[in-house]
Symmetry: C3
Subunit: 347 residues, 3 copies
């Protein structure tokens, strides 16, 4: 694939500096790009590398020096580079149909231009849209509904009755709709609460590998449009996750908690059950959230408190032993002062 710098600039809604007709055939980093390739400057601290890069062109933010290179000036070079990677990396999709070794129940309905690899099982009453790719060893239980342009990687399970929207991608080994963890105490033993709800995953959601999203007890566990979930994340039953959230690896969200839109959860965060996390909240990695979170709040630690307060307190924490010693000394010195200057009449 070859394309002119002007064509790329048009694709990125950017401005060309230098020769708009120069041809670009690939991408590289500032350090490793070669002639014929385009690179990008996202972090200002690497601005000096623009001078020495071998790239034929550079994507730059507004005020950066091109050092004589051809360039495209855009608002967000990082986003622009992602768009170019998508342009250069995308390959035409070739539908292979239902391959030998795949098992499709005769009660299932399958759309056009699908690819279903060997070892994949599609149960009764499943409905699958167009241009869907099911990699090997995927299991779709009874009544699952899958939209168009969905990709499920090897080993994904979607349990009975769960529904995925359009353009959903789920990476390997992720489990959608296993039973929520619900038991009622019955003396010493635990009585299982049937989990008869489902999971609904809306359009444009991407979910990483070996993540688990449990079905609701009665109603719906829901992942909102455009939300991105990393690997090894746990979303418990009845959770409702908003749109365009970003949930980093190994985070766990307990039952019935809700996230607003554009919430960010760092890695290994825990959210306890039945909480409401407001729009645009950001929770730092390893935090434990134990009460509702206001929109736009930036929290960290366990229990989570405002991030700056946490940073300040954490900085003092290693001084605790010294503080305790000083406090004990003050106690003695204060007592000595008080003793010395007790009212004369009491002496």
């Amino acid at each position: 694939m070859q394309i002119t710098l002007q064509e790329l600039a048009d694709h990125l809604s950017g401005q060309v500096i230098g020769d708009p007709s120069v041809r670009i055939q690939g991408l590289g980093t500032l350090d490793n790009a070669r002639e014929g390739e385009i690179t990008f400057l996202a972090n200002p601290k690497y601005a000096h590398k623009v001078e020495t890069t071998n790239a034929t062109a550079v994507i730059l933010p507004g005020k950066a020096d091109p050092f004589g290179h051809n360039a495209i000036v855009v608002a967000s070079p990082y986003l622009a580079f992602a768009m170019l990677m998508t342009l250069f990396a995308s390959k035409p999709r070739i539908a292979r149909g239902v391959m030998e070794g795949a098992f499709v129940d005769k009660g299932a309905t399958i759309g056009k231009e699908v690819t279903v690899y060997p070892g994949t099982y599609i149960a009764d009453r499943v409905r699958i849209g167009d241009r869907v790719t099911l990699h090997p060893n995927v299991t779709l239980y009874e009544g699952v509904v899958i939209g168009d342009d969905v990709t499920l990687h090897a080993g994904v399970s979607v349990r009975e009755g769960c529904r995925l929207g359009n353009r959903v991608t789920i990476h390997n080994g992720t489990i959608i709709g296993a039973d929520g963890f619900g038991y009622a105490p019955n003396g010493q033993a635990w009585f299982k609460i049937p989990q008869i709800g489902i999971v609904i995953i809306n359009d444009d959601v991407e979910i990483g590998a070996n993540t688990t999203i449990d079905r609701a007890a009665l109603e719906t566990t829901r992942i909102g449009r455009g939300t991105k979930i990393d690997n090894l994340v746990q979303v418990a039953h009845n959770c409702v996750i908003g749109e365009d959230c970003m949930i980093v690896a190994q985070t766990g969200i307990a039952g019935s908690s809700t996230l607003g839109n554009h919430v960010t959860l760092g890695g290994q965060v825990a959210i306890i059950d039945h909480l409401q996390i407001g729009d645009n909240a950001m929770i730092s990695g390893q935090s434990g959230v134990v009460s509702n979170v206001a929109p736009g709040a930036v929290l960290s630690g366990t229990p989570a408190i405002p991030h700056l307060a946490r940073l300040k307190a954490s900085a003092i924490f290693p001084q605790l032993p010294g503080m305790r010693k000083l406090l004990a000394k003050h106690e003695k010195r204060l007592a000595a002062v008080e003793e010395r200057f007790a009212p004369a009449s009491l002496k």
Copy 2:
């Protein structure tokens, strides 16, 4: 399915208020139940919703006001509702036998009325009981033993020689009996310690999705009768978990630790190796347990301490910067007082 209120009350060992002959055909929440359905009041703070529910009957605790509704009075409405969900949700199990596309070694022994889905592999010397369901893409290694009425969901692996009791349910992607993490230092490199023990899972255990329970080095990793384990939990080699424990998602238990009976571990808890956790202990989410735990203890934090003490200390933690400043001021003021009132003879 239709059933009278009296029949439901008998099933629940409860007392009818109102019309015992009214017919119930389903379940709903206080908010969403419709005519012909029964709902329940578990949390007293929702007692006012009983007045406005559209349900035909309500399951109530002893002293709640039925607001004129038909009702069943029971000791635990939550347990009672779970029992009704089980009653209404259960479907007759239809055995489909060993389906085409399943692979069963000729040295395996399989019970009656089983269902073995395509893509499932059963190795030599495996023994499987009656009424077992093996969903697609399950793998049973050599010598595995499975009891009666067991359900293994898609993608479960049970490694060589491990044994499952009766009425065990394991959700998708969970791995029973992978090698424990054991290496002996050999200079800079690590020499693998063969993991030749097994895992035994006793009756009535349920395990969530993508959990891992490692085989013992020499002897047995054991999960006690009735214990419930959530998703993405790690149980390391040689652990012995008691009966009726409750282990929430993303918790990890390191090698050779033992849990008594009815222990509760919140989400993302870590238990270090070679510990003993007493009966009925409760460990709060995200805690890190680094020493033995007495029966009935309620701990939290890392390192875990009594929960109330942790709550109190955590509430003070954000004040650390202010405390340190005050301490520094006291130091100056004390020195000033001491200087001012030093013995006149020393001046």
Copy 3:
């Protein structure tokens, strides 16, 4: 298998005490070993058990008392016992070839003496070495390269273009090369950054169950020779892990961080992105590392600080409420003292 004590001592480079011709046919613990078996003493606190063991011989460190038993004296009894377990536990490997029910694309290349179980899928342009075992339901995407003597357990996925060295073992359900978690903000929504790099896993690496190692965005996520990774670990895109590292269960390493050689990470550790962790560093379980770590450092806590400092501060932490009260009292008492002894002229 029967072997003389002298032959075992030669294998272990150890010294025989007692009868070198006695025959050993198995292994056991100090408590449970029977006649004809050999056991070992690794922890000095169990030295008294040597007296009462029923084992025919004992592996001992230099100065331990054999209590009249036959013995082999070695530098590291733990390592020696691991070597004997390997000796006794190893079985001859029987290659079963590509079994019926496995799916191998005609563009794949497969070495000698392999075993490929049913349900495993091998895509176009995959290259597999000699003596490889692929358990059921493994998926190798296009262009994957696998060395010699590799074992992949059931449910493992290796994504497009990733490469494994020789003598690599990966346990069940682990995912190599799923997409890294990379998105560029595009207004409120997230624009996916194509993840077009790969994962390279070097020789002698062992990886536990349900772990995830993401492919790089552009270049290579790399696991160094001899490193051991436990279950449910997350290694994000672009990470470079050194040689002979030890990474315990449920730990997460964020994007582009690098570990030196022989680094140890305890369970549930979090390493944030773009950090460098020096050779031989040790990070305690549940720690959160938020800045670079010097070689040989021993850290714990979140944020991670030197382990001893953490221990001391954590021991004081529960006293915070008392410290705050004492501080408030000091404030009052100091004010009283200051008031009482204010300069007479001001009274």
